[in-house]
Symmetry: C2
Subunit: 341 residues, 2 copies
C-alpha cells in the first residue's frame, strides 16, 4: 500500500512536497563577534561587557533571544500573535536561557536540545510543521553566550585558564528565523536528520574532532538520500567544526568518495579573525551557526548569489557531569537544504 502522504526519501531525509519559505532572519551578537569579519552583517552588536544591561550572563542570553525573535518577527512584517509556535534551544542546563528568553511572547513553544546543532534541529522541526499545515508562521531560534557557556561547561572565567589551539570560542549571540507557507526569497526544500555518532573522543577542548564524524555522516547521507554530488550545492556549511574539525571532515568524506573542499564553509571559521582575535580553532555554540545563517548565509541565498545551500549545524553531546565521569563526547549534525526562490 502506498501512502500518498509519504515525503521521506532515502534513509534519513525528507523532501517537502510544499517547500517552506524563510520570511526573515535576524541576529544580535556580542562585541567580539561584531569586531569579527562578519561584523557588518549583524543587526545589533552589544557592548564590551557582554551583559546587555543585565545582572547575569544567563539573563543576558535570554535578552539575546528575545531581541532576535522580536527583530525577526518585525522584519517579516508580522505581529507576535501571528506566530503559531516557537522552536527554541540553547546550551545551558535545562535550556534556561530559552525559557526566560521567549516567555514574554506568550506563544506555544517546543524546547529543543541538540547541543550546537540546535539551529539545524529548530529549522528542521519548524519547517516540518509548516510544510504539514500545522501553522502559517513559526519561529526557529537559538542562542549561546561566551560567559554562560564557559561557566556551564568548563572553568570559571576568573581562573584565566590557558586554552589549547584546538579549543573554540563560544559565540555570544542569538539568531532567529520566521518560517511560513509563502513569501520571502529563500525556502527550505528538504532536511536530513542526524544520528548520534561516537568515535570515542574525550577531549572537550577539541570539539571539532568530536563533531566531524557526525558532520561527515549527515552530509554523506544527505547526498545519498537526495542523489546529489557536492557540486549540486553552492555551499555546504557546517556549524562550528573550526579548523581542526574541518580537516577531519574533508579526510573522512574523501574516504567515502566525496571531495567538498570547494563547497565547504564553516560558520565557526568565518565568524572570527583567528590572528587578531585569539580565538584559536574558531567560533562555536548554538548561536554561532544561528547568527551566521540569519545574517550572512540567508541574505546571500535571498539575493540568488547562492542558489542551493546545505546548512549543517554540528553539536558535541556532553555535560560537565558526563565529561567528569569519563564518558566520550559523541556528535550530532542536523542538515537543512535551503534554496533561492
Amino acid at each position: 500500500m502506498t501512502d500518498v502522504r509519504k515525503q521521506t526519501i532515502g534513509k534519513q531525509s525528507i523532501q517537502f512536497e510544499h517547500a517552506v519559505h524563510i520570511l526573515s532572519g535576524a541576529s544580535i551578537v556580542g562585541k567580539k563577534e561584531g569586531d569579527g569579519p562578519l561584523g557588518k552583517y549583524f543587526d545589533v552588536i552589544g557592548g564590551e561587557d557582554g551583559m546587555f544591561g543585565c545582572q547575569s550572563w544567563e539573563e543576558a542570553e535570554s535578552v539575546l533571544q528575545k531581541e532576535a525573535v522580536t527583530m525577526a518577527i518585525g522584519k517579516a512584517e508580522l505581529e507576535k500573535w501571528q506566530i503559531r509556535t516557537i522552536y527554541v534551544g540553547d546550551l545551558l542546563a535545562q535550556t534556561i536561557a530559552s525559557s526566560f528568553g521567549i516567555i514574554e511572547f506568550d506563544t506555544p513553544v517546543y524546547g529543543l536540545y541538540g547541543a550546537c546543532a540546535t539551529m539545524g534541529e529548530a529549522l528542521s522541526l519548524s519547517s516540518m510543521a509548516v510544510a504539514a499545515g500545522y501553522g502559517d508562521y513559526v519561529v526557529a531560534v537559538t542562542s549561546s553566550h561566551f560567559g554562560s557557556a564557559e561557566k556551564e561547561f568548563r572553568f570559571p572565567l576568573g581562573y584565566g585558564n590557558q586554552r589549547p589551539l584546538s579549543a573554540t570560542w563560544t559565540v555570544t549571540g542569538s539568531g532567529a528565523c520566521v518560517l511560513g507557507t509563502k513569501g520571502g526569497k529563500a525556502r527550505i526544500t528538504g532536511i536530513t536528520t542526524g544520528k548520534i555518532i561516537d568515535f570515542g573522543l574525550k577531549d572537550s577542548l577539541n570539539m571539532g574532532a568530536c563533531m566531524a564524524p557526525a558532520a561527515c555522516d549527515t552530509i554523506y547521507q544527505n547526498m545519498m538520500d537526495f542523489n546529489r554530488m557536492p557540486e549540486d550545492y553552492d555551499r555546504i556549511i557546517t556549524g562550528d567544526l573550526g579548523e581542526v574539525g574541518q580537516r577531519i571532515l574533508f579526510d573522512m568524506l574523501k574516504v567515502k568518495g566525496f571531495d567538498i573542499e570547494k563547497q565547504h564553509m564553516d560558520c565557526g571559521i568565518e565568524i572570527y579573525d583567528k590572528e587578531s582575535q585569539d580565538t584559536h580553532a574558531g567560533g562555536s555554540g548554538c548561536g554561532c551557526s544561528a547568527v551566521t545563517f540569519a545574517s550572512y548565509i540567508l541574505p546571500k541565498i535571498e539575493k540568488g548569489e547562492w542558489k542551493r545551500v546545505l546548512f549543517v549545524p554540528t553539536g558535541a553531546l556532553l555535560s560537565k557531569v558526563s565529561y567528569n565521569e569519563g564518558k566520550s563526547v559523541p556528535g550530532i549534525a542536523q542538515a537543512v537544504v535551503v534554496e533561492h526562490c
Copy 2:
C-alpha cells in the same frame, strides 16, 4: 486563500486529518516505583540500589531509556532499523541520559527539553511527524532517575536533607511508545501545544504549585480549541502536579468555569502510596508520566475502558543556576488527545 493542508484548530491545537496510531508502550522502573500501587503494570522493575548494573546514576538512566525503547520496538513487532526517528529527552543538563541512552539504536534523533512535560512534547512532535508522512514508525521516549535528578537540581543525597510536604519524589524510570500510521488499539487524534506560564513562584520544593497554572492554561485551551467539556474526556491526566498542584489546578479551572474533579487523575499521585512510601506530595520527573502512560493509561485506552483521554504532562522550568540567581520557576504543559480505536 484556504490552505487545504491546514490542520490547526483554535489558538494552540492541531486536529490530525489522519490520526496517529500508538503501536506499543513499554516501561522500566526502579524498586520504589515497583513497590507502589502501579507496580504490577510495569514491564521491568530494577533492584534496590537503582544502579541497573551501572557505575553511575547517569549511566543507569541511559540504560533505562535503552531498555524501554528496545521493549517498545519488540512489542510492536518491529526491528530497530524500521524506526525512522527517535524523539527523546530527560531532565539532566544537556539531556545526557538521552544521548547515551539511544546512541546504540543508530537511528536519526531529535533531542527535546520540556522539563517533566517532555513526554507530552515527544508524543506531540512524533505524532505530528507521522501524521504528515515523515516516517512510518517513530519512537517517543523520556526518562528520569531519583539519584541523578537530586544531584542535578537539589542536594547531594548523602546530606539527607529534610523534604517539605510539598516536595515530590523523582521517579526512576523510562517509558517509550512506538507510533505509526496504522495498527494498535489507541490513537492520537490531536494535540495542544503549551505556553510558558509564570506566576512568579520561586520554591523548587513546591513544583506542583509552579506547574499548576500551566496545566490550567493548556487544559483550558484544549477545551476551547476542540469545543469540548471535561465530560468529553473519560480522564484528564496531568503528569506530576502532586496533591498540592492538583488542588490549585481544580481551583484555577473552576474560576474559568470548568470543573474537572470527576475526570482528573495525576500520574504523580497514582505512582506512589503516600502513606507507606513517604513520598510527600507525589511522584515527579520526565519518567513519571512516561511510565504511567506506557503501562497503565495506554492499556486502559487499548481495552476501551477509557474511550478518550487528555494526557497532559507538566514541567517546571528551572535549573540550579536560574534558581540560585533568584529567578522564578515557570511551568509548561503539553497535551495529547488519545482515543480508543
